[in-house]
């Protein structure tokens, strides 16, 4: 099995690495455009560690070095240590509770020296590995619900910890591992039910509760009416319909309000409602309408509005690098991290945005192509894990900057400013490249 490989470059998918490098460089340029000030001496500040773009540049170098080490590693190392990594990841995530420092409302960040480290970010790799490991175990039969539940638990446990750390954005990312499970045979009905519940939640937000209850009832009545013959033959059907109606109304009348009142943070509820242009109806009592809550709500509105203005003002061809008035003069908050896409949208317009989205789409498709050519289940699962995480990050981040999704703080992969994020995504890609280079092997 062990094959001496004098050339580590053998079998490496250069197109994936090429896409990775292009995106990272676009990221550095975008951060440069967002934070450069006219007075900065470009060359000088690029090689000092003082500006954001020079930091990102150094993070990129570090990431490349780490990626290189990953390429040097034996593929079997990842299968062998997958569970260990998961364990380590969970431990670090737990360490956050006593050692976190509170930054921007989240409690998920550890500070070491001058650096901030977000374990939930890093933990995505661990979950991708561990999930792949679990599914690829010979004794796992993924068609059994028990295996599916265990797989879901592996994926969602860090998510739970993240929620406890008030880091909802990253917590949601772990749901992207359902993509792996879907690929590996998770019944479609689960996804359908998932979408149905999502649609119901959106309907709950958009439509007046009583009206929605009436609509649901009418739908149930119509279903019963049109299927009355089937129902005559089979009483069970009626029970199912009534149960469904009951569940729907229950979610709409009780589950969603409960979640909004007691599970989610107030500002998150505000953000969700502001996406649909509505006021949060779950404010009550004087304690709820604190100026702080108000400001946060306004802030999220403001972010999206400014983000849309910045992107919209780019028009077809954009204003050019460093010419964007909105992004250069700090109209868009968080524009080097979560709202980095504004810089591209304003500076390079619709054309530039299409190019960027195209590159991302090619990257995703490339990952799927790679996934499908793997002989070992582990590699394929891992690849889908990477695809899922990338897709979720890209889709949610872009949707939120263009005003299609509520503002949840997740980064744009490889482009947003931030060392942890960049290094995490780099390692994810390079592990994939390493595994892909050994695709002829069957890894267990």
């Amino acid at each position: 099995m062990t094959q001496k490989n004098p050339e580590i470059s053998k079998g490496i998918d250069w197109s994936l690495i090429g896409l990775y490098v292009v995106l990272s460089l676009i990221g550095i340029i975008a951060i440069f455009a967002a934070t450069y000030r006219d007075t900065d001496p470009i060359i000088q500040s690029f090689f000092q560690f003082k500006t954001d773009y020079s930091r990102q540049f150094y993070y990129f170098i570090i990431a490349l070095i780490l990626g290189f080490f990953v390429l040097l590693t034996d593929s079997k190392f990842f299968t062998a240590t997958a569970n260990l990594w998961y364990f380590v990841g969970i431990i670090i995530l737990l360490l956050v509770f006593p050692f976190h420092s509170r930054i921007k409302g989240t409690e998920s960040i550890i500070r070491i020296g001058g650096f901030q480290f977000q374990p939930a970010e890093f933990c995505k790799i661990c979950v991708a590995l561990a999930l792949a490991k679990y599914i690829s175990r010979p004794e796992t039969n993924f068609s059994k619900p028990k295996s599916q539940i265990i797989a879901a638990a592996i994926a969602l446990f860090p998510s739970l910890l993240s929620i406890l750390q008030r880091e909802t954005g990253l917590a949601l990312v772990y749901f992207s591992f359902f993509l792996v499970m879907f690929r590996e045979g998770l019944p479609s009905i689960i996804l359908i039910i998932g979408f149905a519940i999502a649609a119901l939640v959106v309907a709950t937000i958009v439509i007046e509760p009583n009206v929605l209850a009436i609509i649901l009832t009418v739908i149930a009545a119509l279903v019963i009416y049109f299927n009355r013959r089937t129902i005559k033959r089979n009483r069970g059907m009626l029970v199912v319909v009534i149960l469904l109606w009951f569940v729907c109304v229950g979610i709409q009348r009780f589950a969603v309000p409960f979640a909004f009142k007691h599970v989610l943070q107030k500002y998150q509820v505000e953000r969700i409602y502001s996406l649909f242009g509505k006021d949060n109806p779950y404010q009550e009592g004087e304690e709820e309408v604190t100026p702080d809550a108000k400001r946060k709500a306004n802030q999220s509105n403001y972010n999206v509005r400014q983000s849309k203005i910045a992107i919209g003002s780019g028009q077809l061809w954009g204003k050019g690098l460093l010419k964007g008035t909105q992004t250069r003069y700090d109209f868009v908050p968080e524009q080097r991290t979560d709202f980095i896409f504004c810089t591209i949208g304003e500076g390079f317009g619709f054309a530039g945005s299409i190019v960027l989205l195209g590159i991302y789409l090619i990257l995703l498709f490339r990952i799927i192509t790679i996934a499908e050519r793997q002989r070992s289940v582990f590699s394929r699962c891992y690849a889908y894990g990477v695809a899922g995480v990338f897709f979720f990050h890209i889709a949610i981040n872009l949707a939120m900057t263009v005003g299609l999704a509520p503002v949840i703080g997740i980064t744009l992969p490889l482009i947003s400013y931030g060392g942890t994020s960049l290094i995490t995504f780099t390692i994810m890609i390079f592990i994939l490249v390493r595994l892909d280079a050994d695709r002829h092997m069957v890894l267990r």
Binding site: Q326, D330, Y384
Partner: protein, 702 residues
């Protein structure tokens, strides 16, 4: 291996693709279809700022800047940026307590939000500025000093001539819709600042600036490609002599009245004093509003320019013109004599005269004989050449209009009054056609009755006499730097010579006027080494229906041989013309011709300057105001009206009209005969109206 699931990779790709298409569709909507965001972005980030040029400087005849620009320093605060401030130390420097400090910060936050600058203290005093500048580094980014140009009246004089700036109101904006003013701008409200606004203002520039999310300016937009530069206003050069002006204001302090001095050769005004006046610098600084309202309600009406607005009965100064007219009409000669036995008895009720005797023209002027001029007037009106009094009075009117009376001269500052010259129409309306004769208006012959003139008109009269038959429209601005682009000065270049009157006639009158100063009623104006021609005037007047102390007038020009200054001095309610107005005239002439007051005349100057001749009714009014701390509403309304007239900005200067048309246009009066002598109460244009008894208010003001 569940190979059967492989088809799902297509579903996954499809999901990816659909998601991306949805996002691209939204991008297409934002960036290509909707133009709204481009506009919003511009509104967000580009600020259009008007760049104000410096206003033009006003120089006097010796190129001394009398209205200049200076910088004032405002202490600005950005409340959100105050960090670690030693408040006690700061308050110590600013001489305020911490409560005041807090109040101002809160005010600033209320007005401009905490992250935008607001004024902490406007127009820092020199000491505070120095102290703050020195310690500015201690206060971080929260405080900074901002400079702002304001007007500076270097001599603190000529307030009513120069005028002041005020914030434009909606009326002004409506009137000047296309001239680039916007609310919050300042424009000249009166005086030269107003009438030469176009010249002084310069051209505004526009600057496009980029601002950030807190509206902080970040720099020029597109490196200033769309900016236009501001062009500074043109400077004005006046004929005014600021030293003479100051001398006049000094002499007129604590008096109510006016001085107008004109260079007869050019028509340029050398000095124009309206007393009481005010320090124009009060209306520039931070406390402009406060000072303005104080001046506005002051019973002494310092904001009113008496020199051009107020009309007075000219009194005996009027006699000089009657003499010219009578000689030219040929009804008398220089040899004609009339005997005065103490009064003029021609019309039943005697009209008193100063001292009896036999008077020829020269002596008649010199000793200001009422009887003599009543007889002259009788001859003029009852001149057999004319079929009736209507036509003879019309002829008289022609002369008066030609002399520049009864209509606005067209001086280059706003709110000029036109005075009144009675016409046949006036009398026909009051008495009915054919029911009046010479006796009806005999008092006009001595400058009383229905005739009213402004100080400016009287000074112009003197210029006309000095030039022997012509004048130029009195004006203040001699030249404009960079040329007269708007043609504002053209009308002041023309000689106005309405009637061709031989020099000999003027010489005769000059003889009489020289006598006035040498041996006659105006000896107080006498100046060694200079031949002054002058004429005293003492005008009866009434206020609140009660006879007030006479107005003291003196009109003169000098030197006789080569007139360089024509001057008119009026001291309201000061008494005999020779007592106050004549010495002041003498001092003014001396100051102008000799540049200084001779040492032996200093005591006279001091006596004149220190005399307090504020009329008793005005003192009473001040007292009333001070004790009651309020002003009767009606009087306030009238003051407002007077001020509004002073603020008129767009007076179309009347051309010198043809006498015939003027006669038709001449103001009519509705006085009844009993009140005829009570015509004018100079102080009292306003009070008169307040009483609303007689009807001559409008004419009085306009």
């Amino acid at each position: 291996m569940p190979v059967f699931n492989q088809s799902r990779n297509r579903i996954i790709r499809l999901i990816f693709l659909i998601t991306f298409i949805v996002i691209i569709a939204q991008l297409f909507h934002l960036q290509v279809l909707s133009k709204k965001y481009k506009r919003l972005a511009d509104e967000n980030a580009i600020q259009r700022t008007v760049v104000y040029p410096l206003r033009g400087i006003i120089f006097d005849r010796d190129r001394r800047p009398i209205l200049n620009n200076t910088l004032t320093y405002d202490l600005m605060v950005i409340p959100s940026q105050i960090k670690g401030l030693d408040t006690a130390f700061f308050c110590g420097l600013m001489e305020i307590d911490t409560a005041e400090f807090r109040r101002r910060i809160i005010n600033g936050i209320i007005r401009n939000k905490s992250f935008r600058p607001s004024v902490f203290e406007a127009s820092l005093s020199a000491q505070k500025y120095a102290r703050m500048q020195e310690n500015m580094w201690r206060f971080g980014n929260g405080f900074y000093i901002q400079e702002r140009p304001i007007r500076k009246y270097s001599y603190g004089a000529a307030a009513n001539v120069l005028g002041y700036l005020g914030e434009v109101d909606s009326n002004f904006l409506k009137k000047h819709a296309d001239e680039g003013y916007q609310s919050g701008d300042y424009a000249g409200m009166t005086g030269l600042e107003s009438s030469y606004e176009k010249v002084l203002m310069g051209e505004r520039g526009v600057k496009f600036l980029i601002k950030d999310n807190f509206n902080r300016i970040q720099g020029p937009y597109e490196n200033g490609a769309f900016d236009t530069a501001a062009i500074a206003g043109s400077n004005l050069h006046l004929s005014l002599d600021i030293e003479l002006q100051k001398e006049g204001e000094k002499l007129m302090q604590n008096k109510v009245g006016a001085i107008v001095a004109i260079d007869p050769q050019t028509g340029g005004i050398l000095a124009m004093v309206s007393s009481p006046t005010y320090d124009p610098n009060l209306l520039t600084g931070a406390e402009r509003r406060k000072h303005f309202s104080q001046l506005y309600v002051d019973p002494k009406l310092p904001l009113m320019n008496r020199a051009v607005l107020n009309s007075y009965p000219p009194g005996s100064t009027f006699k000089t013109l009657q003499a010219i007219l009578a000689l030219h009409e040929g009804v008398i000669t220089t040899k004609t004599t009339f005997t005065c036995t103490g009064a003029f008895y021609g019309c039943g009720k005697p009209m008193r005269c100063l001292d009896p005797g036999v008077f020829n023209l020269t002596r008649g002027i010199t000793f200001s004989c009422n009887t003599y001029f009543a007889n002259v007037m009788q001859k003029v009106i009852n001149n057999p050449v004319f079929p009736d009094v209507d036509s003879s009075l019309s002829n008289w009117d022609n002369y008066m209009y030609g002399f520049g009376l009864g209509h606005k001269l067209g001086v280059d500052i706003p709110s000029e009054g036109s005075g009144i010259i009675p016409t046949p129409a006036t009398y026909n309306r009051i008495y009915g056609k054919g029911h009046w004769n010479f006796c009806t208006f005999r008092s006009v012959s001595i400058g009383q009755g229905e005739v009213l003139v402004t100080p400016l008109q009287m000074a112009n009269e003197m210029a006309y006499l000095a030039n022997k038959g012509w004048y130029r429209i009195p004006h203040l601005v001699d030249s404009i730097d960079g040329g007269d682009k708007f043609g504002l000065l053209e009308k002041y270049r023309k000689k106005i010579n309405p009637m061709d009157i031989p020099d000999s006639i003027f010489e005769a009158v000059h003889d009489g006027m020289q006598g006035v100063v040498d041996i006659g009623t105006g000896r107080g104006a006498k100046l060694p080494g200079i031949t002054i021609c002058g004429k005293t005037g003492t005008a009866e007047n009434y206020s609140h229906g009660a006879k007030q102390k006479d107005h003291s007038f003196f009109a003169a020009f000098a030197p006789r041989e080569n007139p360089k200054i024509a001057i008119m001095v009026i001291c309201e309610n000061a008494g005999f013309g020779g007592t106050w107005a004549a010495p002041i005239t003498g001092l003014m002439i001396e100051k102008y011709l000799n540049d200084t007051i001779a040492a032996n005349r200093k005591p006279l100057e001091e006596r004149m300057a220190n005399a307090n001749l504020i009329p008793s009714y005005m003192l009473r009014e001040i007292k009333t105001r001070d004790s009651l701390q309020r002003i009767r509403k009606d009087s306030l309304d009238m003051i407002r009206k007077a001020i509004k007239d002073t603020l008129q900005m767009e007076d179309v200067p009347e051309e010198v009209l043809h006498p015939d048309t003027i006669i038709q246009k001449a103001p009519a009066r509705k006085n009844d005969s009993a009140e005829r002598k009570v015509t004018q109460k100079p102080d009292a244009i306003i009070r008169d109206n307040k009483k609303a008894t007689t009807g001559n208010k409008k004419e009085g003001i306009l």
